[in-house]
């Protein structure tokens, strides 16, 4: 019994320590913001790696999700005779929830995992250590540009996701089923507000980008420097980031939308 309690206590303490370490890390990274601004080349390279190279999966997923939303929405609303609200339904679902959340999850899986693996590998092969000994702070040189790239890329990817998703819904409902395009857009424009819906969606996506970038980079930076350690860190990074995004989504939704 005492042994179990001691183990629980030790685990909790270790968990708290890890959390504190992660918070201190992100604080140092945020303080490095001016340094990153002075070297846009690094930021641009990372934006390409996490942003541009995520576009394909974002575009394809958005299209299919939008199409499915349109289809399912139409069938459900048809029972109520309210099919002219399908545009509203697709738009609100995407802008408020699916856009930010799915984009963040896809990002964590595609870009986040590569961040963890790359940083973890650099740690395992002592590249970060030798950088430190060359008097170059690896947190500023390697971590900070990647962090800010995630912070910038995710909201942009989310906006693209929402637009393409709405397009997908339009293609299916108006293009294929034959819903009237007029009320599709006008009902949508009536229902979607820039302050409550779009702005909140952007805030969510920025928060998710911050979280996903932070967690995946931290996991890579603190990985055990062996091949199994890096692999563990990569999977953990994706899982933790995804769960954190979903949890934060609930919190933000509760706060934002009454």
């Amino acid at each position: 019994m005492i042994g179990l309690l001691r183990m629980l206590g030790a685990r909790t303490l270790e968990g708290l320590r890890g959390l504190g370490e992660a918070v201190l890390l992100v604080a140092r990274i945020l303080r490095a913001a001016p340094a990153v601004a002075l070297r846009p080349r690094l930021l641009i390279e990372q934006l390409y790696a996490v942003g541009v190279q995520s576009m394909v999966i974002i575009l394809v997923s958005a299209l299919f999700i939008g199409m499915v939303l349109g289809l399912q929405g139409y069938y459900t609303l048809a029972d109520f005779g309210a099919t002219e609200a399908v545009g509203t339904m697709v738009a609100l679902s995407l802008v408020r929830e699916l856009g930010p959340v799915v984009t963040a999850l896809l990002f964590a899986g595609r870009a986040g995992s590569s961040l963890t693996a790359e940083v973890g590998l650099m740690k395992a092969t002592e590249q970060l250590s030798s950088m430190e000994m060359m008097a170059v702070d690896p947190e500023r040189r390697i971590l900070a540009p990647r962090f800010f790239a995630a912070l910038i890329a995710v909201p942009l990817l989310t906006a693209v996701f929402s637009v393409i998703g709405i397009l997908g819904g339009y293609l299916v409902t108006v293009g294929m089923i034959g819903v009237d395009s007029g009320p599709f857009w006008s009902n949508m424009q009536n229902a979607v507000t820039i302050r409550d819906d779009i702005l909140n969606g952007v805030i969510k996506s920025a928060a998710f980008g911050l979280l996903a970038g932070w967690i995946t980079l931290h996991k890579g930076y603190t990985a055990v420097p062996t091949s199994s350690g890096v692999s563990r860190a990569t999977t953990r990074g994706v899982v933790h980031a995804s769960l954190a995004v979903l949890g934060l989504d609930f919190l933000l939704t509760a706060l934002m939308f009454e």
Partner: protein, 273 residues
């Protein structure tokens, strides 16, 4: 022990105590690194040789004792001062630790780019000269994945001397190399030290190579200094720990058997299968 003491002390550890994971790595150790010399730190695996380099570089902090480099107390330095000091130190890790996404040229150019704002033409000249010193000027466009282990280490050496450091540290530079490469590295370490006026610290367990170029040797075992002196004095020593290490004897003060209970008792305890 006859001490070969030419040159002033550049770095020193006094009364060094360091523990890691409940294990005591250093238990009160005194060592002096003298300017212009190649100082070797040798000992069996796990004797804390690499840890010492990290302590000198400020990546680790000792639990007790002092670590002094170029007159400065390393553990007490703030971030900025530490980074200033590191610009005067070079370190070569066992794996070379080249940046895998940069070419040979870019790897050597990295510290120069980060710490100076030299115009590109001047930078290119400097990098090529450093590569020339290690004999790899022609390989400048290769990527690290295309290099052999020995070549990678030489590139890492060029990178370590890129900013003309005062102190150069080598972590197991000869480990796992073929005889020719070993010969090249041995030669390079000594020549660079003398022609560039460096001070070198070589951590190694390759006896013949290290003794061939060292000016002064420290032998560590079990967290303590077992012997020190010139290579000649060590070769002449009759101390059992020194003899076991230098003569490569499998058993001696460092035992062959990991501590275990009596064999008969261990087997008997298993019972009939």
């Amino acid at each position: 022990m006859t001490a070969v003491e030419q040159g002033d002390p550049l770095a020193a550890v006094r009364g060094l105590h360091f523990r890691r994971g409940g294990r005591s790595i250093f238990d009160g150790v005194d060592m002096t690194i003298r300017r212009g010399q190649v100082t070797a730190i040798m000992g069996p695996s796990g004797s804390g040789k690499t840890t010492l380099l990290r302590l000198l570089g400020g990546q680790l902090h000792p639990q007790g004792g002092t670590v002094e480099v170029m007159g400065q107390e390393v553990p007490a330095l703030g971030r900025r001062a530490l980074y200033q000091l590191r610009q005067q130190m070079g370190i070569l890790f066992q794996s070379g630790a080249l940046f895998t996404h940069l070419s040979v040229f870019e790897n050597v150019a990295f510290p120069v780019r980060e710490h100076t704002s030299l115009p590109e033409s001047l930078l290119e000249t400097l990098v090529l000269l450093k590569l020339e010193a290690v004999g790899l000027r022609g390989a400048r466009h290769l990527m690290p994945s295309e290099l052999s282990g020995g070549m990678a280490r030489r590139v890492a050496m060029a990178r370590a001397i890129a900013l003309d450091p005062v102190l150069l540290m080598y972590d197991e530079p000869f480990a796992g190399q073929d005889p020719i490469t070993m010969g090249v590295l041995v030669d390079l370490i000594r020549r660079l030290n003398d022609t560039l006026g460096l001070t070198s610290v070589v951590v190694s367990h390759d006896v013949s190579e290290t003794l061939a170029i060292a000016d002064y040797v420290y032998l560590l075992a079990d967290g303590a200094l077992v012997a020190e002196g010139s290579p000649a004095s060590l070769q002449a020593s009759a101390e059992p720990s020194v003899r076991q290490f230098l003569d490569a004897r499998p058993d001696g003060p460092v035992p062959f058997h990991y501590p275990a209970p009596d064999l008969a008792a261990d087997l008997a305890g298993r019972g009939a299968p």
